[in-house]
Amino acid sequence: MGWPMRKGSSISLAAIVAIVAGALLVSASTEPTVKVAPMDSVGPREVEDQTRTSIIRDYLAGWKAMDAAFSQNRPDLLDSAFVGKAREKLTGTIQEQQKLGIETSYQAESHDIKVVFYSPDGLSIQLLDNVVYEVNVKKQGQSIGTSHVSTRYVTVLSPTETKWKVRIFQGGTQ
């Protein structure tokens, strides 16, 4: 048994399914590929299953928040994912962008993430991310440069009331 359906409605349904599938494919194609190294030997504290999931989810949300904040020059969009030094520094850069009339987008294409440290007190977790992303710089709405970047980010997250937030966010090599 199923829902009663007329011929016309079955065509409409097929069209909706096609549109939804198409939309999903489009959205899937813009999502970065994410590879996460096993966390079994991360120390000194064991990373619980729930933490494994939430740390990666919240870190990736940080990249999206950064892209949104930098492409719209809205520091407030950082608040959902960044705290402390990371938020201060990123906010400072967005303010500089505003003065210069510049917007930048950071479209992550792939993340290769390794959690390297989880503090004994559970108050900080550090991860390294070999990330590939596309940067597009616009000045007064006109693109002035696009670059394909492959670099490493060192990130420290700490727990807040409801989620992990990025406290240190530093790209490049030493």
Partner: protein
């Protein structure tokens, strides 16, 4: 004839283009807070943009001249793009790395209060930053030192990895404030950890008649198993049982001693306890 003119025009335009060609040579790595310069070639004016999550700069440049950046221009570590925007845009990438000189420590000592004699009970985690708040990623030797209230010292050195070093130490046998310090090359941070007595080790009470048909109950000073006085305010329960009736009085320790009065009922059994620790039992005026 027309073909020859067109050919030589094309050559002339190409040579003019080569003469004004822009070239951008940025150092691959720049230490935060240091001056550096970027030589350019070509001719004419252009705009140089230095863009990254850590900073955004714009400079008007005359091609063919060197672009000088002062020590304070770029101090946030990170990966940057340099974009030269003019008749023909060009871009390159470079890293700004943390200064070689650590300047501050973020030191987390947990917990801030714990019982004495806990193996690996105290953890210290420190992140190392330069003067600009960049995480110093090169290995550094951090010295951790925990001095307890009686002068006992535990020390441990740890090498940082990706900007972080950590240690776990035991709490001391004697209660009191402990000074927990992390340091490296003239930079240090200190936290106070309160080491408090553990659970009572044993409880002993005495009983003597009081006025108005009551019995006065008083404990000896209550101590933990290391001889530290258990903190005032810890609850001690006195219980009197007689012919199925039970009376309980909860009393906070005052100067390590708990004291109360219960009805003096001949044949009653009186017990004392605190938490999971049971003390002695007294039968009052037993028959």
């Amino acid at each position: 004839m027309t073909r020859w003119i067109t050919f030589w025009w094309a050559i002339a335009i190409l040579l003019a283009g080569l003469a004004s060609a822009q070239e951008l040579r940025v150092p691959a790595k720049v230490e935060a807070g240091t001056a550096f310069s970027v030589p350019t070639s070509g001719s004419g004016d252009a705009m140089l943009y230095i863009i990254g999550p850590g900073d955004a700069l714009e400079r008007k440049v005359h091609l063919g001249e060197e672009i000088a950046f002062e020590a304070d221009d770029l101090h946030n570590a990170g990966h940057y793009l340099a974009i030269l925007s003019g008749s023909a845009s060009q871009s390159t990438q470079f890293d700004v790395v943390a200064s070689n000189q650590p300047a501050s420590l973020s030191f987390f000592a947990k917990p801030s209060r714990l019982a004495v004699n806990r193996p690996n009970g105290i953890s210290g985690v420190t992140y190392i930053f330069d003067v600009f708040g960049n995480l110093v990623l090169k290995p550094e030797e951090i010295s951790f030192r925990l001095s307890d209230a009686t002068g006992g010292v535990q020390s441990h050195n740890a090498t940082s990895r990706d900007g972080v070093a950590w240690v776990q130490l035991n709490s001391a046998p004697k209660a009191g404030p402990a000074h927990f310090e992390a340091s490296l090359s003239g930079v240090q941070a200190t936290r106070i950890v309160q080491e408090v007595p553990g659970e009572p080790c044993s409880i002993r009470m005495t009983a003597k008649p009081s006025k108005d048909q009551r019995v006065l109950l008083q404990t000896d000073p209550v101590r933990d198993c290391n001889g530290n006085p258990v903190p005032d305010g810890t609850i001690v329960s006195f219980t009197e049982r007689h012919e199925g009736r039970v009376s309980t009085v909860d009393v906070p320790l005052k100067r390590s001693v708990a004291e109360t009065e219960l009805p003096a009922v001949s044949g009653a059994t009186i017990t004392v306890a605190s938490g999971v620790v049971l003390g002695n039992e007294i039968r009052w005026g037993g028959r």
